[in-house]
């Protein structure tokens, strides 16, 4: 009796947390709530210095990769599951890194995209073929279900294992729509948004959020930000609302509340928005709670009103039970590119830390409008740093520094949310954040949040249509090209925005460009904050300076927190993977990587040896110009 009761209790506990067995890694952020927390503690602050490479796997066997590997592997049973920017999916032996199977998508397979991870699902009460599945999506917007044991397509899912995500999306040009973050699995539904090419034209593919039955692939519901009450698939010949806010970042979910939390972007084009509908304005850069069974809207919280800065939500919302007056409250932490971190009650969307609407700079672009105020999370630390001044301008010599000072003085800058216009403006933080898709990791026991954040301004100019036409700016056949002026067809202005760099191709502002900060979630106070990364792999014109001095070089990617009090993070343009003491911020261990590790690491215990492994993808990054790699690298303590 006692034993049955105990089993029932254990079962209900595991259902409540919807967490994988300790030692495995079942979702992108380990748990469905994106905490990026591991309960493992074999690797400790004391022994982490002995960590060594256990194995290296190359997705393309050393062939030159054509895009950046950003994947965080999943670990189930004794296998790792990964995906590549060219849509291959692989299962690897968790102990040795040897390839077990490889899924090759049908040709042509030369399109670049991003794949941050795959989705795993175990069909309840099923055995045999496709009882356990891996889901991925391809550059031509197909959702594919694979047998986790063999890598073969699941015949019972959609049409021979494939669901066409272009249904209801209108005319989708190549490279204009695909899913970059792994679909979230909640209550047997696969829920996903999609990436949409930035700044090409006003009627780009819909930002619709869709759910499919994880077993059959049948359409379950849609959340169309243009018609939030209509959850049906459009009849043939019709489409979801075009040009609506999309969601490309990882989502999170709460199985018990039956809610999926969707970090929304804005209705592209990003830098001029008078044409946007009232519905688009409502959902722009908002975190939206949808009912997992129906897609019905439960609540929303908007992090930027009438977003004309590309401050779309890039970070997975992180769910944590927050200690408030000694009681756990189901909370949601939403990091933003703005450097504001909002803390909400995930049942209701109400704020748990004070949020103030503060006046922001005015003076919209011709024909556009601005919100007089924007929300600021005053109960949490600010992850932007002080406002810029001319004295913050930087260089290697007085000459390039002077160039940056002149550019700064020539531009408009009135602090956060300075609007874009025909006269150049400084957008700070720029479109990489603040906090980008790396999000935050949270140690729920110690209530400590780890934030890696950037300080990189953009230099932004709107180009009147007539001048843009003369420059030949048109919506591109290849979609979005980072760093190039973009057409924004259907609005009066094209846009030219990129990182604010000097002619030596180094940032115009002084370092640090990236920091790592630990925050006590209970008090909202900073525990420690340190510039992150040295200058050894970077320098003018991308030439490495070999300066082993902490500078805080640009970083994109996430961290993992462990029960033993360690934080694992690559992320930096410096090709280095580190373990950091969560209590002090001190670097306890570091290893050089063959390419920068712009991916979130993960950790697991291999059942074959019982050893804890830590894995990171070393893949470089397209927007940061850091060279590509195709490495999956596992570290472990030496065998005893």
């Amino acid at each position: 009796m006692m034993r049955t009761l105990f089993c029932a209790l254990a079962l209900s506990l595991s259902a409540a947390s919807a967490q994988a067995a300790d030692g495995e890694w079942h979702h992108y952020g380990n748990d469905l709530g994106g905490a990026r927390y591991s309960p493992l503690d074999q690797i400790t602050p004391e022994n982490v210095k002995d960590l060594k490479v256990a194995w290296v796997y190359q997705t393309h066997k050393g062939m030159k990769p054509i895009s950046n590997l950003q994947v965080t592997p999943l670990m189930v049973g004794d296998s790792l599951y990964i995906c590549t920017p060219t849509n291959e999916v692989m299962a690897l032996d968790a102990e040795t890194g040897k390839e077990r199977w490889r899924f090759e998508p049908p040709p042509p397979n030369d399109r670049r995209r991003t794949c941050r991870g795959v989705t795993y699902y175990k069909v309840p009460d099923a055995a045999g073929e496709c009882a356990e599945r891996i889901y991925t999506s391809t550059a031509d917007a197909s959702l594919v279900a694979l047998d986790a044991r063999t890598g073969k397509r699941c015949p019972g899912f959609g049409n021979a294992g494939v669901v066409d995500l272009k249904t209801g999306m209108g005319k989708v040009r190549p490279n204009y729509y695909y899913v970059t973050s792994a679909p979230v699995i909640v209550q047997g539904k696969l829920v996903m948004g999609g990436w949409v090419a930035d700044n090409q034209h006003v009627d780009e593919p819909p930002g619709v959020i869709r759910a499919y039955d994880a077993v059959t692939g049948a359409f379950a519901w849609a959340f169309d930000p243009g018609q939030p009450e209509n959850h049906a698939e459009p009849p043939p010949g019709e489409t979801y609302t075009l040009g609506t806010p999309n969601s490309w970042a990882p989502m999170s979910a709460d199985e018990d509340l039956g809610l999926v939390y969707v970090p929304m972007g804005n209705a592209t084009p990003d830098y001029w928005g008078a044409h946007r509908s009232a519905e688009s304005e409502k959902f722009t850069s908002a975190v939206v709670a949808l009912e997992a069974q129906t897609g019905a809207l439960r609540w929303l919280f908007r992090t930027a009103h009438h977003d004309v800065w590309d401050y779309d939500l890039a970070s997975q919302p992180t769910l944590v039970d927050l200690q408030v007056d000694g009681q756990p409250v189901p909370a949601l932490v939403q990091p933003t590119k703005r450097g504001q971190v909002f803390v909400l009650d995930r049942r209701t969307g109400r704020t748990l830390k004070p949020v103030e609407e503060r006046p922001v700079p005015q003076g919209p672009a011709p024909g556009d409008w601005l919100s007089p105020t924007q929300p600021f999370s005053t109960g949490m630390p600010d992850f932007t740093g002080p406002d810029l001044t001319e004295a913050n301008m930087w260089g290697v010599t007085p000459l390039d520094q002077l160039w940056c000072r002149i550019k700064f003085r020539e531009a408009r800058y009135d602090g956060p949310m300075t609007p874009p216009g025909v006269k150049p403006s400084i957008t700070f933080p720029g479109y990489l954040g603040g906090i980008d898709w790396g999000g935050v990791s949270v140690d729920p026991a110690r209530q400590i949040m780890i934030v890696n954040w950037s300080r990189m301004p953009n230099h932004t100019t709107l180009i009147p249509r007539e001048a843009a036409d003369k420059m030949g700016l048109k919506a591109g056949p290849k979609g979005y090209m980072p760093g190039k002026p973009q057409a924004q067809e259907g609005t009066p202005f094209a846009v030219d925005t990129s990182a604010f760099l000097s002619p030596l191709e180094i940032p115009c502002i002084a370092p640090p460009y990236a920091l790592l900060t630990a925050v006590d979630l209970r008090s909202g106070k900073v525990i420690w904050s340190e510039p992150f990364g040295t200058a050894r792999d970077n320098g003018p014109f991308g030439i490495p300076m070999h300066l082993d001095l902490t500078m805080g070089v640009p970083a994109i990617g996430g961290s993992v927190s462990t029960r033993s009090g360690l934080v694992f993070i690559g992320a930096s343009m410096e090709k280095t993977f580190r373990a950091i003491d969560q209590a002090t911020g001190k670097v306890l261990w570091q290893a050089r990587l063959p390419a920068a590790g712009h991916a979130t690491p993960m950790t697991y215990v291999s059942p074959a040896s019982g050893r804890q492994f830590v894995v990171i993808a070393a893949g470089g990054h397209i927007s940061l110009g850091s060279p590509f790699g195709d490495y999956i690298i596992a570290y472990a303590l030496p065998k005893k």
């Binding site: 001319e390 004295a391 930087w394 260089g395 290697v396 010599t397 007085p398 000459l399 390039d400 520094q401 002077l402 160039w403 000072r405 002149i406 003085r409 020539e410 002084a510 370092p511 500078m551």
Partner: protein
């Protein structure tokens, strides 16, 4: 063995290559500095540009005053840099680095030999 006999002193020549280098830095600094000042920015670059250009002209002519002006510029630059950014070494680098390196060369006997 007398070293002086082995290495007879060269004829004193003004450090013209160095002077030209200073002018090459000084002129854009002056032009950009005027522009920055017109935009309401720091006046330092105008002052530094004038000092560099005068130092360059005097050094070209072999006048020791050129070195003194340079020394004054370096001292003034250090004071200004500390006032503007404090002890942040990354921020001090663009402000002091280049001028300090050039100043070190100017302090060597080879540079001073050609100055009257």
């Amino acid at each position: 063995m007398e070293p002086a006999a082995a290495y007879p002193p060269r004829a004193a020549r003004p450090p013209r290559l160095f002077a030209a280098l200073l002018m090459l830095v000084g002129l854009p600094l002056l032009a950009g500095g005027v522009w920055l000042a017109a935009l309401g920015g720091s006046l330092y670059y105008v002052v530094a540009g004038v000092a560099l250009a005068s130092s360059a002209i005097l050094l070209w002519r072999g006048r020791a005053a050129g070195a003194w002006i340079y020394a004054l510029l370096l001292a003034g630059t250090v004071a200004w840099a500390l006032w503007e950014v404090g002890l942040d070494y990354w921020q001090l680098l663009p402000r002091i680095g280049l001028f300090a390196v050039l100043g070190l060369w100017l302090a060597t006997p080879w540079a001073r030999r050609g100055l009257a």
